[in-house]
Amino acid sequence: MGYTAPLMWRKTIAARNPVMADVARLAGVSHQTVSRVVNGQANLRPGTRERVELAIRQLGYRPNSAARALVTRRSATIGVIGSKSGYWGPSTVHRTIQAAGREAGYFVSSVNLQSLTRGELVDAIDHLRGQSVEGIVLISATDEALEVARAQENLGVPVVVVEGDAAKARWTVGVDQVAGAELGTRHLIGLGHTDILHLAGPPSWTEARARLLGWQTAMYAAGLRPAGHLVGDWSAASGFACGQEIAARGDVTAVFCANDQMALGLMRALTEAGRGVPNGAGGVSVVGFDDIPEAAYLIPPLTTVRQDFQAVGRRAIEILQAAMAGESTPESLIRPELVVRASSAPPVERNP
């Protein structure tokens, strides 16, 4: 069984991995004996175990993990469900959770969904349970997803929801979205802005609602009335489209944008329409959310709210482990951080 050139295995009808019978044959022992060695049982004649282990190594035999799961009841696998939208926040969290899970010794099985609807989620969870996962992390939940997640707890699979609504999901973890939005909005208020618009994410996402709430809360706390908000879909294109609308509104002096990718499109639309960011005639200040790697290199560099996704990934696994062990779970919210750059400034004097 040397180097597997394409030619070699094409000669066989279909390639397959060695099975226990192959090991038994090579070691010259019974199937039962191989089984005993594989399952780590004792009472074997000296030399027998070594012979079997040698045969296993020579053949590259791997005990069937599904079978092992039946015997040991532990698969050492956790499932992670994300969406394949490619939005920076959720996909970064997905990666950090995978890394944290592996570091904790689990095999991580990832599923990416087109959308987080009930149907897709039920399929995904079914699929993961078929792999005997011990726990599931669900990223960026919609309301439908949260309902499905809650039902899973009744089936004995702990589900940790990232950026979930703590009222709807038993175990949640994430950066404190409301606090982050308050930070961004308060920064603009502190600069002197009173007409601060919000460009929100899609309302079916819990983070979008939380950031909207944070913006509203900060405005009310400062004695300001939150003017209406616009709704984008997280993409730069939607930020651009909303930006064209905003550019036409002379009263707006600042925008708190629900993520950096939309802020990128927004700033582009404002600049194209002749509204400077943040200065110049009719200048508009812009604050984003996430702190994507590109944020510092935009024109102008973007003030934003940084999310510590490494911390989210680690905490998600810690909470999942605690839930799986029936222990009390650690603190679920990670503090966000404001990063001030050049896209925000005091309001430009308006001509009467």
């Binding site: 597997t4 394409p6 295995w9 094409r10 009808i13 279909a14 390639a15 397959r16 991995n17 060695p18 099975v19 226990m20 019978a21 199937h31 039962q32 089984s35 590259g60 791997r62 069937n64 993990s65 599904a66 079978a67 799961a69 039946l70 015997v71 009841r73 532990r74 394949k84 490619g86 990666r95 995978q98 890394a99 095999f107 991580v108 099985s109 990416n112 792999q131 005997s132 011990e134 009744n154 089936l155 004995g156 702990p158 730069a236 294109a237 930020g239 990718q261 990128l264 499109g265 700033m267 582009r268 790697p293 590109e294 290199y297 935009l298 024109i299 839930a323 799986m324 062990a325 029936g326």
Partner: protein, 346 residues
């Protein structure tokens, strides 16, 4: 089923082998044989054990599928640098293609590229009885490491592949870079500078080759070369040097993220794009159209790449020989960041 409902906070309750044995009226060893090598068991006995597993709640799961078909319907994928656009798009595309064909794709992201990390990942995947593995690792050493795996299941390579390489699928990086560079040269620029990705990435080297070839085919000498690392920061640093170099009127950045940093640096130094300097990127990120100015770049069809990789894996699993395909041709997206060189340029 009482067994299916877990205790609060406890691990999920899978039926044990003892329960399956009891239900099927066979010995523990028999269940083990059925699970590990069905060929030793009478068909009727095997059916009884299978039925027991199904009744105890193993519908549609891996164990049942393996027993029924001897196939896991699962393909493994190993990928590095999932934080970057290309690798993440490719991983998603392969998973999607797998979903369409009825295969689960188990993805493992490597934290770092090393033979140990690759072997560890492949080990885990083989534990799950994957029928094939897709390797998406862009570094030069990856090809050797993959060969050293010596697996008995097929291995399909994406990323960093060359035309005609067996069991591989890829997008023609050299051609993409050539298109980008030729676009600038045909606009009248006498040479094009290049900010490349890290030297140990095969794709960075391939884009560099295409960039050089576009010059050579027109009897021109290539422009300045600068080292980047795919990040916007590295593009920014290269951009500061380019801004100060009066000779440069056009730049091909190895990816859109570096192009963004480059645009920022040129803006800071008062060099107008495209009036003073033209810029082309690579990838066509969704944001590229909204850069300032909108970025001319090279689009890669990652969905098609994922489909091809999956199709190769499936054919290989079936023992069929699929004709190797040409590399996928990328296409140039012309936007506002490129134009003719300024008058009276060197």
């Amino acid at each position: 089923m009482a067994e299916q409902v877990g205790r609060r906070g406890g691990p999920p309750r899978s039926p044990s082998m003892a329960q399956v044995a009891e239900r099927a009226g066979v010995s523990h060893q028999t269940v083990s044989r059925v699970l590990n090598d069905a060929s030793l068991v009478k068909e009727e006995t095997r059916a009884r054990v299978l039925a027991a597993i199904e009744v105890l709640g193993y519908r549609r799961n891996l164990a049942a599928r393996l027993l029924a078909t001897n196939r896991s319907r699962r393909i493994g994928m190993v990928s590095a640098h999932l934080a970057l656009h290309g690798p993440s798009m490719i991983a998603t595309a392969v998973q999607e293609a797998g979903h369409v064909e009825g295969y689960d794709v188990s993805l493992i992201g490597l934290p770092e590229l090393s033979a140990e990390a690759l072997h560890g990942a492949v080990d885990r995947l083989c534990d799950e009885a994957v029928e094939a593995i897709v390797v998406a690792v862009a570094h030069r050493e990856a090809a050797n490491m993959t060969r050293d795996l010596r697996l008995s299941i097929p291995v399909v390579t994406v990323e960093g592949v060359s035309a005609g390489q067996p069991l591989s699928a890829g997008i023609d990086q050299e051609l993409g870079a050539e298109l980008a560079t030729a676009h600038l040269l045909d606009l009248g620029h006498r040479h094009v500078a290049h900010v490349s990705g890290p030297r140990d990435w095969v794709e960075a080297a391939q884009r560099r080759t295409g960039w050089r070839r576009a010059h050579e085919e027109r009897g021109l000498l290539p422009g300045t070369e600068l080292d980047g690392d795919w990040s916007p920061g590295s593009g920014y640093r290269a951009g500061l040097m380019i801004a100060d170099d009066g000779d440069i009127t056009a730049v091909f950045a190895g990816n859109d993220s570096m192009a963004l940093g480059l645009l920022r640096a040129l803006h800071e130094r008062g060099r107008r794009v495209p009036d003073d300097i033209s810029v082309v990127g690579f990838d066509d990120l969704p944001e590229a159209a909204f850069y300032w100015p909108a970025l001319t770049t090279v689009a890669q069809d990652f969905s098609e790449l994922g489909r091809r990789a999956l199709s190769l894996a499936v054919a290989a699993i079936r023992g069929e020989q699929e004709a190797s395909l040409d590399l996928i041709v990328p296409n140039l997206q012309v936007r506002a960041s490129t134009g003719a060189p300024p008058p009276c340029s060197p």
